[in-house]
């Protein structure tokens, strides 16, 4: 809402500077900014058109000769409304304007248009930043001083107010005046609503029927005959333009003016086009068609409220009038509508038809029905003043759903309970009265409060408490810390686990990535060698773009494409992970949102740095990360061959805990890597954090440190190459004196037979009860070797 400060001063005296005014309004909840209309009009002056000639090379362009007060300038102009003698806004070269086509700020340069030099421009409202109108040039009042800067003539300081959805009353200049009154302690001066009536009683000339009172609680109307349609006076046009509305004619301008003044939208009908002399307010029939003022044929449904004359529709209630009852230059009688329409109904219709107007914006926020008569009388008075004619006796006021203004009980104890501070009777009554509330002080520090008729947001006691807090000022509320009982606390193991996993992986050298949860099917499928999706992802109804139409079902695609884009400038090693949710569709329920951690490791070459301690990553690099991570969480994991579609067969494993799969590790399938333009090997791990949570336990005890010395034996075994490390250690672990087994070499090659390999282990023997003798250890070692030979065909390497 744009509120010209000059206009605001019609209703209240303001001592504050515009900046201070904006500040105090902002602090009390009415976020305001100061805009100077015309602050950027450097180089724009008032000129007069003295001659119009055809353009030699273009039919649609004309050459206008402009008297600038200090000389004549010829400019090329395409506007249809050029008239000799009109005062206009003339921009000379170098002026700051808004480009009429792009809407961007620009500086006017000399131009040759179709072969004719043009030194300047006759401006439209849009080029001056006054409205979106770029149809024709702005025509100024005939008394505009020739040659003077436009800013001196037209400029105004405007409060640009960001109105919150609960305060439709602030979509009016008077509503803002009441806010200013409460803050500054000044009184509001309300406009004069009186006018003289003549002619027949209105009831004899118009009847009004409301069929759907739920959508139309109140309909008020007046009738003015014998008006003369014409231009509005300059002051009125200027105020409307400052509010961003284009003047049309004196009748429509008055309805708009009063809408900005009171916040009540009005509509004017050409009374002679309402042949039945009757207004019927009813729901549209499903599929009913109607041509609106903008000449668009619109299809309506049963939730849309229509204004009809009993036979044909003349307007879509509260949204837009019809072409068939519009005010024209020949109109002589006006039926003026000031009605209240249901907020939800207007919201529905305006969104359904994609027709958002100043009127619908006010109705959908829920304005009070009390406003209709005030605004109606004000508008009738102004029309009589500006367009002449005479008003019929009385007004029609159909009000089937009368909404009484509620009186609310306000208790000092409640003020203190919510704000933490109490106020005196004078403060409470004074503050509320200054906002237009009626306040009765009762004994026991209670008040009976009635909200002013223009406020629709005051429904319960706490609404009054907010009024007190915001006007007295939040800076005057004390500052205390929470006291009272300590709130119920339950450990959140999942969040703790996620935090531990994140920090551990960062400690292992991984960089954390967060990618968008919204993606597309193609991207998701790219993570699989078959390039197909096996799970149908959750789809959006109204996606911004096809790229972000689905919720992801894996983290792999996002991470691989992050790796892909980083490879444009990184060589490696790259270790990245994401710990976030994926979304799994469920029947008739919200999707499941499991927390997944997925990591990628990429290091095709040895690091080029002097300590040379990193090797290219391989399967065991990623396995080691998962083993250490799980071990830090006290989880014992097994690994088993797997067939994950993102990973290369034979180079991947499932991660099992107590026989249950919690994730996978392995080398990314070259087909998948290629799909992301990655030609080198990439290793991936993926763990389900929710599954992990089931097994990750607090440490329960510890192993006593034995005081007896240990004995070390190294053995190198020759085995069939099919025998696994795990088979060997499973056997050795059965011997209780073996405290630790460490694999320190894996060899296959010339030095062993074909089809064989050698595994070398260091075994550490230790007893908790006594010092082991060599003899004792050798005996156990012999037993171990015998077992290994029997079960796996192992022999000692020579």
């Amino acid at each position: 809402m744009k509120v010209p400060v000059k206009w605001l001063k019609d209703y209240i005296d303001i001592d504050l500077s515009p900046k201070e005014l904006a500040h105090v309004l902002t602090m009390s909840g009415t976020e305001s900014e100061i805009k100077y209309l015309g602050e950027s009009w450097d180089g724009v002056i008032i000129g007069q058109i003295t001659a119009i000639d055809p353009h030699p090379n273009a039919d649609r362009l004309r050459l206008a000769t402009v008297n600038t007060g200090s000389g004549m300038q010829t400019v090329v102009c395409g506007a249809p409304n050029l008239t000799i003698g009109d005062k206009i806004a003339f921009a000379s070269v170098g002026a700051h304007l808004i480009d009429g086509h792009t809407g961007e700020k620009s500086i006017l340069k000399p131009a040759k248009i179709r072969g004719v030099e043009s030194c300047g421009m006759v401006c439209s409202e849009m080029e001056l930043g006054m409205s979106k109108d770029h149809e024709g040039i702005l025509v100024l009042a005939s008394d505009a001083p020739l040659g003077k800067p436009l800013a001196e003539f037209l400029s105004d300081i405007v409060l640009d107010i960001d109105v919150t959805p609960n305060r439709p009353d602030l979509l009016s200049v008077i509503g803002v005046a009441w806010e200013v009154a409460a803050i500054t302690g000044k009184k509001v001066k309300v406009p004069d609503l009186s006018y003289s009536e003549s002619g027949d009683a209105i009831e004899k000339q118009v009847s009004i029927v409301i069929e759907d009172a739920d959508l139309c609680p109140r309909y008020s109307a007046s009738l003015i005959t014998g008006v003369k349609i014409g231009e509005s006076p300059e002051w009125l046009k200027q105020r409307l333009m400052a509010c961003g509305v284009r003047p049309i004619n004196n009748i429509v301008d008055v309805t708009n003016y009063v809408m900005f003044e009171y916040g009540q939208p009005l509509h004017s009908f050409d009374y002679d086009k309402i042949k039945t002399n009757k207004i019927v307010v009813r729901r549209a029939k499903n599929g009913e068609m109607m041509q609106t003022l903008d000449d668009i044929e619109r299809k309506l449904d049963g939730n849309t409220l229509m204004i009809t004359d009993g036979e044909k529709s003349v307007a879509i209630a509260g949204v837009m009038g019809g072409a068939n009852s519009d005010i024209t230059d020949n109109t002589i009688s006006i039926l003026l509508e000031s009605a209240n329409f249901n907020a939800a109904g207007i919201h529905y219709t305006s969104h359904n038809l994609k027709l958002v107007s100043e009127a619908s914006m006010r109705f959908e926020r829920g304005i009070r029905p009390d406003l209709t008569v005030h605004a109606l009388k004000r508008a009738t008075r102004l029309i009589l003043q500006l367009a002449g004619g005479c008003a019929a006796k009385g007004i029609v006021d159909v009000y089937p759903q009368k909404q009484e203004r509620k009186s609310l009980n306000l208790r000092s104890s409640e003020i203190k309970r919510i704000l933490g501070v109490g106020f005196s009777n004078e403060q409470v009554a004074g503050t509320l009265t200054s906002l237009g509330f009626e306040v009765d002080i009762y004994p026991n520090d209670e008040y009976m409060v009635t909200a002013p008729y223009w406020r629709s947001d005051i429904n319960i006691e706490v609404d009054l408490i907010e009024e007190l807090a915001r006007i007295i000022g939040y800076e005057n509320i004390p500052t205390t810390l929470l006291s009272g009982s300590i709130a119920h606390q339950e450990p959140n193991y999942l969040m703790d686990l996620k935090s531990m996993v994140r920090h551990t992986l960062v400690g292992f050298g991984f960089d954390e990535i967060i990618t968008y949860s919204l993606t597309n099917r193609e991207m998701l499928a790219k993570a699989y060698a078959s390039n197909t999706l096996h799970k149908e992802p959750v789809k959006l109804d109204n996606a911004m773009s096809a790229e972000q139409e689905y919720l992801r079902t894996n983290l792999r695609s996002g991470l691989l494409s992050v790796l892909q884009s980083n490879l444009r400038h990184e060589e490696g090693p790259i270790r990245i992970f994401e710990l976030n949710r994926i979304y799994i569709k469920r029947e008739n329920d919200l999707p499941e949102e499991p927390e997944i951690v997925c990591g990628l490791m990429y290091n095709p070459e040895q690091e080029k740095s002097w300590p040379l301690h990193t090797q290219p990553f391989d399967f065991f690099s990623v396995k080691g990360v998962v083993e250490s991570l799980l071990s830090s969480l006290n989880v014992d994991a097994d690994f088993r061959q797997s067939d994950d579609e993102s990973l290369l067969p034979g180079f991947q494993a499932e991660v099992l805990v107590k026989g249950n799969k919690i994730g996978v590790i392995g080398e990314v399938h070259p087909k998948v890597a290629n799909a992301f333009d990655i030609s080198e090997k990439v290793y991936m791990f993926e763990l389900n954090i929710n599954s992990l949570l089931t097994y990750s336990l607090q440490q329960t005890g510890y192993q006593a440190i034995t005081r007896f010395p240990s004995v070390i034996r190294d053995i190198a075994l020759v085995l069939d190459s099919g025998v696994t490390h795990k088979q060997v250690t499973d056997i050795i672990n059965r011997f209780s004196l073996v405290n630790e087994i460490t694999l320190f070499d894996v060899y296959s090659g010339k030095q062993v037979e074909a089809g064989k390999k050698s595994l070398a282990y260091r075994l550490i023997f230790q007893s908790a009860e006594h010092t082991l003798t060599d003899k004792e250890v050798d005996k156990v070692l012999q037993q171990i070797l015998k077992k290994l030979e029997g079960a796996l065909g192992a022999t000692l390497r020579a």
Binding site: P165, I460, G509, N542, S565, N566
Partner: protein, 347 residues
């Protein structure tokens, strides 16, 4: 050779060798050889036990004398070697400017860091961190938060809806537009007193540009108990701002509107760049809006069966991305979710 003769020999040898020593490494060896536990001197002294008391006295005195003498020359030598202790010469020297063998260094995402830090502050004030679903029902995201259907307040939160229709032909599933639905979910389960913070992702129907993305992060807070006041809200958020932004950072509260609170509050902090003087970042106001808050609306409390005449509470919500953007002067919000390691490795 008598013991005294042996001591004499040790002395001569030691002093002679010490003379030739020109670096600390050799000096160390010398120290071990002549003054260490296994030195000849100690060996000689261990032989003392076999002597008569009279002999013990003379030999002991001589040995002690020698020990003191050796200590003195050692000290002298140390001093004379001087600088050589600090910088070795020749082939033993290392170039200490060579880079160390660094363990690989990972980086926590800046958004995770902010969430961690904020949660830590609120947890220390007795709040508990909880999380909730990102795909929600409009019941929790809107209805129960006093945002009815066909209300303009819904338009302020451009919603991404899920392609889902229930038996009644309604389409009630959406991506949550704020973390506030968790207020309702938690209050349905836990009765007051309660204090929670809820970090999480939220979604809006927004075209992507430098300041808008369809997915971003919020942190929500809620405290409900008997006797919680607007003064407590101010105090708690002041304390948060003091701990997070530093104790000299001023904070200011003003009235604002959110359908699920009454009175509504907006908190600003003194501009990080101009410290209140006014600059481009704060559009010359000197203040930066950082969070919305307010006293929980009675309708929200009653909706979950909490008696609003007995209990009261406050709630607050804050966008996470804005904080590091302000702190580090990041001017493009897309950087957080682009995965560019050149950006992420700076945090």
């Amino acid at each position: 050779m008598s013991i005294l003769e042996q001591l004499e020999e040790i002395k001569t040898q030691a002093l002679c060798e010490l003379d030739a020593i020109d670096d600390n490494k050799k000096l160390d060896l010398w120290r071990v050889q002549y003054m260490g536990k296994k030195s000849r001197l100690n060996e000689v002294l261990r032989g003392l036990a076999a002597l008569s008391i009279e002999e013990k006295k003379t030999v002991g005195a001589t040995a002690n004398q020698l020990k003191l003498e050796l200590e003195a020359v050692l000290k002298e030598k140390e001093l004379s070697l001087g600088d050589m202790f600090i910088s070795a010469k020749g082939e033993d020297a290392i170039d200490i400017s060579l880079p160390g063998r660094k363990p690989p260094l990972g980086h926590l995402h800046p958004i995770s860091q902010v969430i961690d830090e904020m949660c830590r502050i609120f947890v220390s004030m007795g709040f508990q961190a909880v999380e909730g679903p990102e795909v929600e029902w409009d019941y929790y995201n809107f209805d129960m938060l006093n945002i009815p259907k066909e209300h303009p307040a819904r338009d302020n939160m451009q919603t991404l809806w899920v392609d889902y229709e229930n038996e009644k032909g309604e389409r009630p599933m959406l991506l949550r537009t704020h973390t506030s639905p968790m207020q309702v979910r938690v209050m349905e389960k836990i009765k007051p007193p309660l204090r929670i913070v809820v970090p999480g992702k939220v979604y809006r129907y927004e075209a992507i540009d430098a300041t808008h993305i369809p997915m971003f992060t919020q942190i929500e807070g809620l405290a409900v108990d008997k006797g919680i006041t607007l003064a407590d809200l101010k105090g708690t958020l002041y304390e948060f701002a003091r701990r997070y932004f530093g104790s000299d950072r001023k904070a200011r509260f003003r009235c604002d509107f959110f359908p699920f609170v009454e009175p509504g509050v907006e908190m600003s902090i003194e501009c990080i760049v101009c410290k209140g003087a006014g600059c481009r970042l704060c559009s010359n106001s000197g203040w930066l809006e950082i969070l919305g808050a307010g006293m929980v609306h009675p309708r929200v409390l009653e909706g979950v069966g909490i008696d609003s005449t007995v209990y009261s509470g406050f709630a607050f919500g804050m966008g996470i991305e804005r904080i590091p953007m302000l702190r580090y002067g990041i001017d493009d919000i897309r950087l957080f979710y682009g995965g560019d390691l050149r950006f992420l490795r700076q945090f």
